[in-house]
């Protein structure tokens, strides 16, 4: 289980207590903590060290992230190795569910007791930048001599907000096309040549159906139905939002066509109706489902199932262009009031070191963001990860708009209503778009970005 999967399904007891104790519990914290005032670009100092070396006094860095799944041990090993190679910096890693993490980090940073360095998803950077949780890192990128050429452009450019850089990209984790070879054989398909076009895909599903197999289970949840729909929307040339991020455009012709394609899989008997949360993936693991568009984070989970005979490749091109949903983990430095500049320098050294060693991180089921790592022989030897990496030129991220994560739950409602056949795709998307418009405008007003 990767961090992303954990983020959506996980709920710790404490998470429940925080939330279930009523909004009041959070509000006490809220009213007690006073946020850092002023512009972080001015108040935050990130000058000093080169990032290549840290020669100050011994420091200890608190490093928080949400790698609660199979990816956690990989990051832990990197941290251990870093600590043993570095005399004067000690990194202490602490892990919690992503959902928890994004609630807790701002509170902890505001009270001055939070982490020094952390990981954030690319769609969280703008929100946390606007809320002054994280520091701009342009000078970090400079001193670390990181530039656009070193990274996949989409990932590099996704880390900026308001013309400033807030995240140093560690990886990309796109959606890919997993196929179950055993089920394909049962359906009379060649397990070595998964369909790559829309016509082939539907033909393959028809073959599977004739053998009584429902070949592509459509999940009515954001994970994965919503991510599959977004991939298809981009394949049709659509966009989720207008360029200012003030209005939803996902109910466009392209968006409706994408949703209709998924809903038709259910209507035509290529998917069971009312698929439960994760049931599409469980069915894939149990040789009941042939095709599963799922995240790169499933590689190690599927590898652990010895009886599972599977392959992974690029998402088939159903629409007019190639596209796939993706997200990215980014290093961030926290905007703690009165932060010790030595710690900021030490953080840079740590970030630079992990990015240089990110091929070890790739083994956890990630595509490294750094070009030199991604083109290294060590990475290209990772067969499945390399298959995902080929999608890098055309992966899409949510736009860097503060509060954009708020729309996820609205999108999920639309996917649920459409895939469960409660509403026509166009109606579900139109309803969601009008709710999303309200939210986007409220956010634009709140963050002063409108």
């Amino acid at each position: 289980m990767s961090g992303d999967r954990a983020r959506r399904r996980g709920l710790t007891r404490r998470d429940f207590l925080v939330a279930g104790g009523g909004a009041t519990a959070g509000l006490i914290l809220a009213s007690c903590g006073s946020g850092p005032e002023g512009n972080p670009a001015v108040s935050g100092s990130t000058s000093g060290g080169t990032g290549a070396k840290y020669e100050g006094p011994n420091v200890s860095l608190a490093f928080w992230n949400g790698f609660t799944g199979g990816d956690g041990p990989f990051m832990k090993d990197l941290v251990t190795q870093f600590n043993s190679e570095t005399d004067n910096i000690e990194v202490k890693m602490s892990v919690q569910e992503w959902a928890d993490y994004y609630v807790k980090v701002p509170q902890a940073v505001a009270s001055g007791s939070g982490p020094d360095v952390g990981i954030m998803h690319i769609n969280q950077l703008a929100t946390n930048a606007a809320r002054t949780v994280i520091l701009p890192l342009d000078d970090v990128a400079q001193t670390l001599e990181l530039q656009e050429d070193d990274f996949a452009p989409i990932v590099w450019n996704g880390g900026t907000y308001n013309g400033q850089r807030y995240g140093i990209p560690l990886d990309t984790h796109p959606l890919g096309f997993y196929y179950n070879k055993k089920v394909m054989e049962q359906g009379g398909l060649d397990p070595e040549s998964p369909p790559a076009t829309g016509d082939d895909y539907l033909a393959a599903l028809e073959d599977l159906k004739s053998k009584g197999i429902e070949g592509h289970w459509v999940s009515p949840f954001l994970f994965l139905g919503g991510l599959q729909w977004q991939s298809l929307l981009w394949q049709n040339g659509g966009e989720l939002y207008n360029s200012e991020g003030t209005a939803a455009t996902f109910n466009s012709e392209q968006g409706v066509a994408a949703m209709t394609w998924l809903v038709d899989l259910v209507k035509n008997g290529y998917s069971p109706a009312n698929v439960g949360q994760d049931a599409d993936t469980i069915a894939f693991q149990n040789d009941k489902n042939a095709f599963n568009w799922n995240g790169i984070w499933m590689i190690n989970a599927f590898k652990e199932i010895k009886s599972l005979d599977w392959g992974v490749t690029q998402i088939p091109q159903i629409g007019s262009e190639k596209a796939a949903w993706a997200s990215s983990h980014n290093f961030v430095i926290m905007n703690k009031e009165g932060q010790d500049p030595n710690k900021i320098d030490a953080s840079k050294v740590f970030i630079k070191w992990v990015i240089d060693h990110s091929v070890d991180w790739a083994k956890a089921g990630q595509v490294p963001a750094d070009n030199s790592v991604r083109t290294s022989q060590e990475f290209t030897a990772l067969e499945e990860q390399s298959a995902f990496a080929e999608q890098l030129p055309y992966v899409h991220f949510p736009p860097p708009i503060p509060g954009i994560g708020d729309i996820d739950v609205i999108l999920e409602t639309a996917v649920s209503e459409a895939v469960l056949l409660k509403k026509e795709p166009a109606d579900a998307l139109n309803d969601a778009a009008s709710t999303a418009d309200e939210t986007l405008q409220e956010n634009a007003e709140k963050y002063g970005t409108g």
Partner: protein
Amino acid sequence: MATQETTRVTASGLARSRARAATRGGPQKQGTFTPYLFMLPYMILFGIFVAAPTISAFWISLHNWDYLLPGKPFTGLDNYIDLFSGSGSAGLFWKSMWATAQFTIYSVPPLVIFPLLVAVVLHQKFPGRNFFRAVYFAPYVLGVAVVGILWRYLLDPTVGVINYYLGLIGLPSDIPWTNGLPWAWIGLVGMTVWWTAGFNAVIYLAGLQGIPRDLYEAARVDGASRWQQFRHVTLPGLRPVTLFVVTVTILASANVFGQPYLVTGQSGAPGNATRTAIMYITGEGLGRFRMGSASAMSILLASILAIIGAFNFRLLGRRND
């Protein structure tokens, strides 16, 4: 009846001790602040954990409040007015309130009646009684996360155990327990009854043990049948306990969060039909960091629950003897 006797006893005992104190010339006068000093420890906790947060929540609800943003503009009652404005997000809030109301309406009757029956049975003397008492109480010790994950896999429409067994005995095996209506409500209420019925049963059991045996003997002498004993001795004897159980169960059901969050997903499948008020408020306050409007919603929900609670006390607390 039993309570009245107790009251009388205590009152007369108090009178006696006062009289004694007076005759001995002991410390019969107490300081004006004594009762308040006795209440002080609780009042401190109440003040810190209930009164202060409530006042602070009300203050926050008058603002556009994100604790990290420097500007927290005062907006007066706008957050409350918005909830009645008919805007899209107000509609979503009221939809979540309706989901909470539905869950409460469906879950409170079984959670009040079923544990009573369990308690009456477990009150009898039979071999293995303590074992069964433990069995019925056992699920209650589990955390909501455990219960939620467990039931999500039991209830799953396509790969779940329940539908599998329904299929084996020839019943429909494609019931959407987690993402169709009314099935999702049946699943959520069912798992909640399984989870928390034991708690209410234990309360009832304590209540049953407090009913004097001689009342049953007197009823038997008068020729009352078992049903008449239950109707005229057990039920009236359980009145205060029932008031407690009903009140606590309504509050617990109205605060439902973990079961739908884990079983039907954070948006409350199908669509957002099973997203409850607490889920919506949590998303508004801790997801979107719109704490002003989240506080306004909390205060509205709390006010409605207070009214229901008061009504409940009037209805069940009334004595008809």
